[in-house]
């Protein structure tokens, strides 16, 4: 597939941005100003970015506890994200949600669930609403290999196939659910790779290769948008840092350092950067410009977050029921 240089730079920029945001959060986390359990997606940026780059603003995504990347890639407001991590009123959920409950209605992100698998049927329902309204919006669901253990996936996929819903199921198989390896939980490959292709388009790809992700994403988004029904894409990837919080908080000994090192070599951001430089699409000056822009943006987000007021005792009772 031909991807323009411009597009490639765009994709790279988005990945780099998400990476830097995550790194900053990690670096500052032990200061205890972000009092909410963060789940960083370092190593998995290509998936959010590749898939979301094919979506329109009106398309939906459904996200999970490890959702910063999905949120940013879909166009969620960085300031509102960082403020939410600080549990401030300027946060996207006004401090009620924290890191695991992000939302940006303006870009089709209608809230992420911290119940593993919980977002799968919700994303399916967003697809149904699209279909019922006769709109062309597609719904994309991000979930992990842990979520793929849950029966709700089977139920949701069946329903999406049955009704030919415009839903894209993106399984981010990062090999681990907390300290539990996928092989301790899953017998063989996910069975849905065997679904008949007229019911479900399915593929397993290298989730760390942004170009592969982009390519498949283009295919499945087109399918969904044109009424060809759901897709199920498994992206092999890896969570480089700990399950939650800063790396220093991750329990030791559940995975080999060797494994981590191997995956670090497959870093989606650095590898793409190398290719882009080799291909002379990215220059060091563009890169440093990007870095500066991102760094500035992050500085601003953190300082805005700090200035944003804390919710008060009284605020607690604001959202009992919606009028």
């Amino acid at each position: 597939m031909k991807i323009s240089n411009e597009k490639k730079l765009e994709l790279f920029y988005e990945m780099l941005r998400i990476r830097r945001v995550q790194e900053r959060i990690e670096a500052l986390y032990m200061n205890d100003e972000m009092k909410t359990p963060v789940h960083l997606c370092i190593g998995q940026e290509a998936i959010s970015v590749g898939f979301c780059s094919l979506l329109q603003k009106e398309d939906y995504i459904s996200s999970n506890h490890r959702g910063h990347g999905h949120y940013l890639a879909k166009g969620g407001d960085l300031n509102a994200l960082i403020a939410e991590l600080h549990c401030k009123t300027g946060g996207c959920s006004k401090g009620f949600g924290g890191s695991m409950h992000l939302i940006d209605v303006s870009v089709g992100h209608l809230g992420s669930s911290a119940i593993v698998g919980g977002g799968i049927p919700i994303g399916t329902g967003l697809g149904l609403s699209s279909k019922m309204k006769g709109s062309k919006n597609v719904s994309m669901i991000f979930f992990g290999d842990g979520a793929a253990d849950e029966g709700v996936l089977y139920e949701s996929l069946n329903f999406a196939m049955l009704k030919k819903l415009p839903v894209i199921y993106v399984l981010e198989n990062n090999q681990w659910s907390v300290c539990s390896h996928v092989s301790a939980r899953k017998a063989g490959e996910n069975i849905f790779h065997k679904a008949p292709s007229d019911l479900l388009f399915s593929s397993k790809i290298d989730g760390n290769d942004i170009l592969s992700v982009y390519e498949i994403a283009k295919q499945v988004v087109e399918r969904a948008r044109n009424g060809f029904g759901p897709s199920f894409i498994e992206c092999e990837t890896y969570r480089i840092l700990g399950h939650a919080g800063s790396l220093s908080q991750d329990p030791k000994g559940y995975r080999d350092q060797e494994e981590i090192e191997q995956w670090k070599k497959k870093c989606p951001v650095i590898n793409f950067q190398t290719i882009l430089i080799q291909d002379q699409i990215l220059t060091t000056s563009i890169l440093s410009e990007m870095e500066q822009r991102i760094s500035y943006e992050i500085d601003v987000a953190f300082s805005n977050a700090k200035e944003s007021p804390l919710p008060t005792k009284e605020d607690l009772y604001t959202y009992i029921f919606c009028e």
Binding site: Y60, S62, G91, C92, S93, K94, G95, F96, G97, H101, I103, V105, L110, G111, S113, I115, G118, I120, P121, I122, G123, T124, G125, L126, G127, L128, S129, S130, M132, K133, S139, G151, V152, E155, S156, N158, F159, L162, T318, Y319, I320, F321, C322, E323
Partner: protein, 349 residues
């Protein structure tokens, strides 16, 4: 939003009134169905889903043939997958639809608890009010006929505990329609916990659209001696007991809260202030259920008026047995209500 056109009616006609014979009387299932029908007609975003909603019996008649009128896209049968389908309804609601999800028994809601409680009930609060989930879950308590432990549970006590969900329990045809319309109009998740015994009734139901407000109880019979608060079909039983007791010169006030969350505390507390004697009647399990909450609430807020222990008439803390002799021992009705009233009435501290 087409919903804003509907006028709420605060009071329904007198309960079991003999006066209004000229009004239209229809059956309970017709009342529910009319509410759903008018909702579907009113708002293209409303849709109906559930196992068997399009089958010949049509959910005890409540959804009968709606698919023929509104199409199979808007009134559809589902796989047996209560977890995902509930989540799906939540998602559809977030996408701007107004699903009404029918279950023929509350027992199956246990399969959907994660989506109901972890998701639907929390979404509005958890995201700081940014979105809400206008979802109606309708379900109908089974009773009798050897349905046994897995097909007869009355789960209002359980759901009453959950913040973020409105909980509705109609007891008349009028309310069945009006509360259905209120529920569909509401921007929050609403559970309507109906009861098969309600389906025996005919009642006065205006043919136009109207809503019965969620959060407002109603006095079904005025009285000065004892306050009875009863839910669902037990309102009728309590009403008949109250009428019986008039001959014994015991003047019972019967309150139908109609919705359990929000609960109309005012109507209850006012009555307690008058009578000082209370019996609470619920067809669910006793412990930590509806009777517990209403009793505790009264003690908190109207202690000084109380002249006797608060009577609690509820099903025993047991699964429902299959056998009819055991069912007889298990379920509550007029005799248990009467006994409790007499006990509370005759209590001298």
């Amino acid at each position: 939003m087409p919903w804003s056109k509907i006028k709420p009616i605060e009071n329904e006609p007198d309960f079991c009134s003999e006066k209004i014979k000229d009004c239209r009387r229809i059956s309970y299932h017709e009342a529910v169905r009319e509410g759903v029908y008018q909702a579907l007609e009113q708002d293209p975003n409303v849709f109906v889903m559930g196992q068997g909603v399009d089958d010949p019996s049509g959910m005890f008649g409540a959804t009968k043939n709606l698919h023929q009128k509104f199409g199979k896209e808007r009134v559809f049968d589902t796989p047996l997958a209560e977890t995902a389908l509930t989540g799906m309804a939540v998602g559809a609601a977030l996408g701007g639809m107004r699903p009404i999800y029918f279950h023929n028994r509350p027992d199956f809601l246990y399969l959907a608890m994660d989506q109901i409680v972890n998701h639907a009930s929390k979404w509005y609060f958890m995201f700081g009010g940014k979105v809400s989930v206008p979802l109606v879950i309708w379900t109908c308590i089974g009773r009798g006929w050897g349905s046994a432990a897995q097909h007869s549970q009355a789960l209002q006590g359980l759901f009453m505990h959950i913040p973020g969900i409105k909980l509705v329990m109609p007891s008349t045809c009028f309310d069945a329609k009006g509360l259905m319309l209120s529920a569909v109009k509401d921007n929050n998740p609403v559970i309507i916990m109906d009861h098969r015994f309600n389906f025996k009734q005919n009642g006065i139901v205006p043919d136009y659209m109207y809503t019965v407000p969620i959060g407002k109880g109603i006095i079904r019979k005025n009285g000065r001696d004892v306050t009875v608060i009863a839910v669902s079909h037990l309102v009728t039983d309590s009403f008949y007991v109250a009428q019986e007791l008039m001959s014994e010169k015991i003047d019972v006030e019967v309150i139908d809260p109609r919705t359990l969350r929000p609960l109309d505390e005012e109507i209850i507390l006012e009555s307690v202030a008058k009578t000082g004697r209370v019996v609470i009647v619920d067809n669910g399990w006793k412990t930590a259920g509806v009777t517990a909450e209403i009793s505790a609430m009264i003690v908190e807020k109207a202690f000084k008026f109380l002249k006797a222990p608060i009577g609690r008439v509820a099903c025993p803390d047991l699964p429902t047995p299959a056998g009819y002799t055991l069912e007889d021992a298990y379920y509550i009705g007029k005799p248990e209500i009467k006994e409790a009233i007499l006990k509370v009435y005759s209590y001298r501290g």
